[in-house]
Structure formats: C-alpha cells, structure tokens
Symmetry: C2
Subunit: 238 residues, 2 copies
DNA sequence: TCTACAACTGATACGTTGTATCGAAGTGCG
DNA sequence: CGCACTTCGATACAACGTATCAGTTGTAGA
C-alpha cells in the first residue's frame, strides 16, 4: 500500500477507523430498521436515522436497498418470517390462526398497519409463504382457484382493515400519551359532546352511553372474524 | 388611505392585484385539494401545490387549516358528503349498501384508501353521519350496543382492507402505466416465475395457472362481503 | 508479493417538503 | 378618521430522499 502524500499521517490517524469491510448487509439493515420502527413508529424511519443507528454514512445503505420503498419491503419480509402458521388443521382453524397470528404480528409491529400503499403489495418470500399456507388449507374442499384466493384475501382484508383502525387508535394514544381507553375518551370528549349536541347521531349516542366493551378490542376482532368464518362455511358449503 | 411614499404608484400598480379579501375558505380549500388528489394522487397534495392551485401564497391556507393533517381530514369530510345511504331498508341491505357505496367512493377517490393513519380516525360530521346510518339500520334487532358497533366496524374493516389492497394495485398500475391485468401480470412475471421456480408455492402456482377471474375485482369484493353478511345473519340470529 | 479491479462506504450537495415567523394589506367598529 | 383584528405575502429553516463522485478496502489474477 502506498501512502498518499497529500494527507499527512496524523491527518489520517485523526480519521475515524479503517472501518472493517462488510459492516452492512440486508439482514443487519432490516433488523436495525425494524428495531427503530418498533420503538418509535414508522415516521422515525429515515435513511439518515437508519444510517446513524448502523454507525454508517447516510448513503451507505443505498448499496443494499435501492431506496426507502425497498427498505420497507425488506422490513415487511423480515417480520413476516415470524408468522409461522401451524399445520395439520382444518380450513377454519387455519384461517382463524392466520387472522389471529397476523393480528398479533401487527400488535408487535404497529407500523405494519401504517405502511404506504406500495409496501402493502410486497411480494416477498415470507409473505408468499403465508399466502401459500392459507391457500393450501383451502385446497381439496371443492373450491375453484378463484374462490380460494378470494376467501383468503377476504380474511386478509378484514384483518388489515381492523388492524389499520386499531393501530391508528393506538398510535394516536401514543402520540398524546394516553394510556387507557378512558383517557382517550376523555381527550375526545369535547369533540364528541359537540357532535352529540347537534342531535344528529342518536344511535351513536346510545352506544356511547350504554356500551360496556369499548376497550375489548380482542372481543371486537373475534366477533367480526367469527362472522366472516361462519359466512364462508355456510355460503361455500364447507 | 394614505399612500406609502416609500413605494411609487407605478411600483404598486405593478404588484399583483389588490387581492380581494376572503379569497380562501375551508370549502374552497377542500374542493381544490380533492381535485388535485383525484387527478394526481395523494402524493401530489402539497401545501405549496395547494396554494398554487388556489392562486395564493404558500402559507395562506394555514389560516384555515392548522396543518396538513387538518387538510386531509377536511378532504375526507368533503367527499364523505357524497356517501348518501338509502333509508327504509333492512339491516342486510343497509350494510350491503354501505359497503358498496363506500367502495364506489374509494374508487372515485383512490387516495381515500391511502391516507396516513391519523386521517383514518377522522371524526368529521359526514363520517359520523354514515356511522349513524349504519348503526340505526342495526337498531331494534335485539343486539346490544357493543355488538351493533362491532358489526358495523367489521363491515367497515372489510371494505377498507379490501379497498386498501385494490387501490394499491390500481395506484401501482398507474405509476407503471399499465392499463390491464394482463399488462400488470406481465410486469410482475419475472418476479413471479422466480418465486415459483423455488417450488415452495405449489398451491399459489396452481391459482396462477387456472384462475379465470383474476381481474373481476367486483366479484371478489362481493364474495367476501356476502360471506361476512351471511355470517352476521347466522351468528347473530337476525 | 504485487497489481488491477470491483465492491463498498464517506462526503457533499441539490431540490422539496412542512411550517414558524413577521410584516403588510385589507376590514369593521369606535 | 384611527385602531384593533383578521387575512395574506415573503422569507427562512430544518429535515427529508437521494444523485454524484472520490476514497477505501477486500480479492482475484500475475
């Protein structure tokens, strides 16, 4: 190695460290990004922040991911690896497990339900594997391919829709430092009483006054899910 | 009015126009913003772009909306005014109308399904009105308040989830200038064949080869919706 | 062991975004 | 006519995604 005479030895000694090679990899990037998003939400995901967290220059990750969209896809694939579905069950228990496990995944990673649209189309290996599992559970029941896919996508749509709402509420509570449903409703009370004072929402008002399971999100999720599964069973004769 | 001697008459005549007061209003802002988003997608919504479209300085709209979040809520309320649900129907036809009309609204305004999370909690008058209509349709059937709300939210979750996917696909096709399902699949073919070559997704592969209704999104939507409505009917004995 | 090459990272910079700030212009009331 | 108040314009700033390019390092061939 020839020393570059334009920079003195001392100057070069001042420079960081020789930086061992291969400090970055899609794996390390995904893990770091997921950690950030889990701890501080999706809006904390910044190429600069990610680089800082990895102890690297802002543009370094671009050698491994083509941009932020790519990064989000990588994150999705990374966490979907944890979505292992049990085998050997009937179609109904399989779809139920799919829904419940997906919900748990989205509760562990609230940002999953807040991804921008293009990240929702992520056709990554681990996402494909989940679809394959679900479709396989629906195979051999006499359904045609279109119906199988629609049933799977229907359940998936319900889960995503429900969790999109649930995690938006939870994100809002986090921003406002609210730690219970009562605190949330207290925060929203002025707006709500203003609405109710118009007298245009009597049924809604009745709900607000008499409901007793406003915070039982699991019960709400299961009710809708069971309805959907019931309907699949009766309508498709399976 | 005293003329300011530091600026000549001609100089002041050169200046735009005296700018009649009250050129801005939440109404005008909402209409302009919706027009932009309808034509060019949600990412075209920029405070600067909005101001330009309104013929006004970048910061002017901030006198009427507190920020971008507020603007999005205003847009949601604006388009939800068009979501009129027919009255005098049974619970099932009402929920079906709710779902179908919401889908149509989201097809007319693709950005509705791509809103950031906080905008999905918009408790605006026109959104409340839709909820009230749906809840009223479920009233008097012997359901408790919690169940009524969960059923409504369940249907809403399904619709949002399904449309989130559908409009993400449609947005992707728009970006890539793809105008048919065949073109879309052609675009995705390299990725898909790569996945299929792993042999890990046999059921998925069977779907790709034999399905005949891949582009019939309305049929897919209705199948899931009918399953859900069937399930609600049987599980809740209504 | 040396050398050339390819892969990788650092530094710098540009255009855009949301929005804070403050002064100017117009409006309604005394 | 004067004055407080609302509404708008101009300017500015920090943070973002990312293009570009030079510098650095590991590695393959001689």
């Amino acid at each position: 190695m020839t020393t570059d005479k334009s920079t003195s030895l001392w100057e070069r000694l001042e420079r960081p460290s020789p930086a061992p090679r291969q400090v970055l990899s899609p794996q390390r990037i995904a893990t770091a990004a997921v950690a950030i998003a889990d701890a501080e939400g999706l809006e904390a995901i910044t190429m600069r922040r990610l680089a800082t967290e990895l102890g690297v220059a802002p543009m370094a990750p671009y050698r491994h991911v083509s941009g932020k969209d790519d990064l989000l896809e990588l994150m999705v694939d990374h966490v979907y690896a944890d979505l292992r579905l049990p085998g050997g069950l009937g179609w109904r228990e399989s779809l139920r497990a799919l829904a419940v496990r997906t919900r748990e995944l989205m509760l562990d990673h609230r940002w999953l339900a807040q991804l921008p649209p293009q990240a929702k189309l992520a056709l990554t290996p681990n996402v494909m594997a989940v679809a394959e599992r679900a479709l396989a559970a629906l195979d051999g029941l006499g359904l045609d391919a279109d119906t199988m896919m629609s049933v799977f996508r229907g359940v998936d749509a319900y889960v995503h829709g429900a969790m999109s709402y649930e995690s938006a509420v939870s994100a809002f509570m986090g921003e406002q430092s609210l730690s219970s449903g009562d605190e949330l409703r207290n925060e929203l009370a002025p707006l709500m009483t203003w609405h109710m004072r118009t007298g245009r929402y009597p049924t809604y008002e009745h709900y607000l006054r008499t409901a007793t399971r406003k915070d039982d999100t699991r019960w709400q999720f299961d009710l809708g899910l069971d309805c959907l599964l019931d309907g699949i069973a009766t309508r498709l004769n399976i």
